[in-house]
Subunit: 332 residues, 2 copies
């Protein structure tokens, strides 16, 4: 299978889940001290992951949790972000310019408690955090583990132990199996759509961040294919009018509370569009994962599927995903 | 001037501003009772206006204010929305299906305090509100008047009296003059872009809601032209890679705290794109409005400019803006 090392992938998920005890200790310390609210701060991909985790929190809890865009924070600021706030970030490099500047302001001028997930140790962003968790990849899983622990402490997440007992045991293999069983679909999808001049992605719930980031951080940034992502709840309030027989539209269907919003678009689309695709996390087995927990990990399942599209799209289009036309090549 | 009745437009703004004393009474009563947080609930265009007002509040205050999408509320709910919450909505018809359903739930099951801005009296949505303000159009202005009064009561908006003294006196004529002086630009823009297969709109701050709604509720829904809107802060994190010499990109530049984010895109774009347009609210005089208040009304200035584009685009494309291909013609 193209760009797929089963053992490595399994180990990556397994290792991320093993960071949970470390995350729990951090959350519990922060919990003991007390706090007013939590901000997930990011840009681009980390902004999308922040949207996902905040949406996830909203499903279960009234805990005040917000997405904050680092560049917006640097201009508008945020009066609700105080020394009693918790700020969470994630970074691969630990150097992302705008987030680094925002964290510097948050640390030096505001004095909030900062928790950082970074792929490697000894980074400028790491040095600004009160707590760091060092582990590569698996950004969403790390954010969700943190959020779930906060919600458990708050009494909003009684299923915590049961959920993580299952995930520790079954998630790595379930996700590896998704990738394997999605490979043929990924290839067919890439073959069909590799010449698209425009592709629309529609999603809801914890799929919205996935939809947004897949469209923008993968197809636009890495494949140089134009896309638009839209929330399934908003699809009927404007965008539908420009859809016709040949429009490339893909609906992401997850299994959280907002599944009905995506289903509504999926049911409607075929009447006006002969070129719609549907990626439904329900089509994947997820051995060992209880029905009631499938919604919690739908976004990870979707990502496992889209990884297969990416692998084939890169090959078919002869367009290595690591090259950028402008980003980090031109100053802005 | 095409589709422009100066007197009528002036009277529309003036009448909206005159509703302020009514809005103040409502806000003051709600303020006296006390509340935990405010939710602006909407879909499509009203969702965009909600984004604008919540962004506006963030500029000045830590008052807990949130955007809630009616359809999302109907699936996920919102545990922070309680009987101590204030819920604000706006509607032209007073019948919008999803908002009506959400309000019914909020009124009957949650018991929050509901304030409704509706274009006409005696509507199903009006009957669910504790307080209504009946006046056509001017949705953003109505939302901002309400938010500003809440912030004044909170002590976060000392300029309130000074601002509205100016707006009452000068805003109607300032906006009418913007429309008149933007007409030639609107015509040229419409002539240049009426055949676009895709158009990108970029904005930040209180222009983001304007950008989102202009792209989706005007060009897509009314003109049937494909668009994508993106926050200026996110432009550099994906979308820029698909921009080339001929890409149609328009940057909305307002005058609130996030102007630098839009300026950054505007400064960068010409290096990679020979087809970029810039609509800058600074180019309009706004007689009588102090420098420090221009940012408060940038979104209204932008809307006055885009109205001129719409008038010409409709004519050139022979596409009446009131027709819909699918919306309210097919069930979903």
């Amino acid at each position: 299978m193209l760009k797929f090392d089963e053992q490595k992938q399994y180990a990556s998920f397994e290792g991320a889940l093993k960071k949970r005890s470390e995350i729990e200790k951090i959350v519990d310390q922060v919990w003991e001290k007390g706090f007013d609210n939590i901000f997930f701060i990011g840009i681009g991909g980390t902004y999308a992951s922040s949207m996902q985790v905040v949406q996830h929190i909203k499903e279960f809890s009234a805990m005040p949790a917000f997405v904050e865009h680092a560049a917006e924070y640097l201009t508008t600021g945020n009066k609700a972000l105080t020394s009693n706030s918790v700020v969470v970030f994630s970074s691969v490099s630990g150097t992302t310019e705008e987030v680094l500047a925002a964290l510097t302001k948050i640390k030096n001028e505001v004095g909030a408690t900062v928790i950082g997930f970074i792929d490697k140790d000894n980074t400028p962003m790491g040095s600004l955090a009160d707590y760091t968790v060092i582990y590569p990849m698996n950004e969403q899983l790390k954010f969700f583990m943190l959020a779930d622990r906060f919600m458990q402490n708050r009494g909003d997440f009684p299923d915590y132990d049961e959920l993580y007992h299952e995930l520790d045991q079954y998630l790595p293999s379930a996700l590896v199996e998704v990738e394997k069983s999605a490979d043929a679909f990924g290839q067919a999808f890439a073959e069909k759509h590799h010449l698209d001049t425009m592709h629309y992605f529609v999603g809801a719930g914890n799929q919205m961040g996935a939809t947004y980031s897949y469209a923008m951080c993968y197809w636009e940034e890495q494949h140089w294919i134009r896309t638009k992502s839209i929330h399934a709840a908003e699809f009927f309030h404007g965008m539908l009018e420009i859809v016709d027989r040949d429009t490339n539209v893909t609906v992401f269907l997850g299994e959280d509370s907002q599944r009905p919003l995506a289903e509504r678009v999926a049911a409607f689309l075929p009447r006006i569009c002969g070129n719609a695709s549907f990626i439904d996390t329900k089509d994947y087995e997820l051995k060992g994962i209880s029905e009631k927990f499938r919604g919690h990990i739908s976004h990870l399942v979707m990502m496992a599927v889209t990884r297969r599209i990416d692998a084939h799209l890169e090959k078919i289009n002869c367009h290595p995903v690591e090259i950028r036309r402008y980003y980090r090549r031109l100053n802005y």
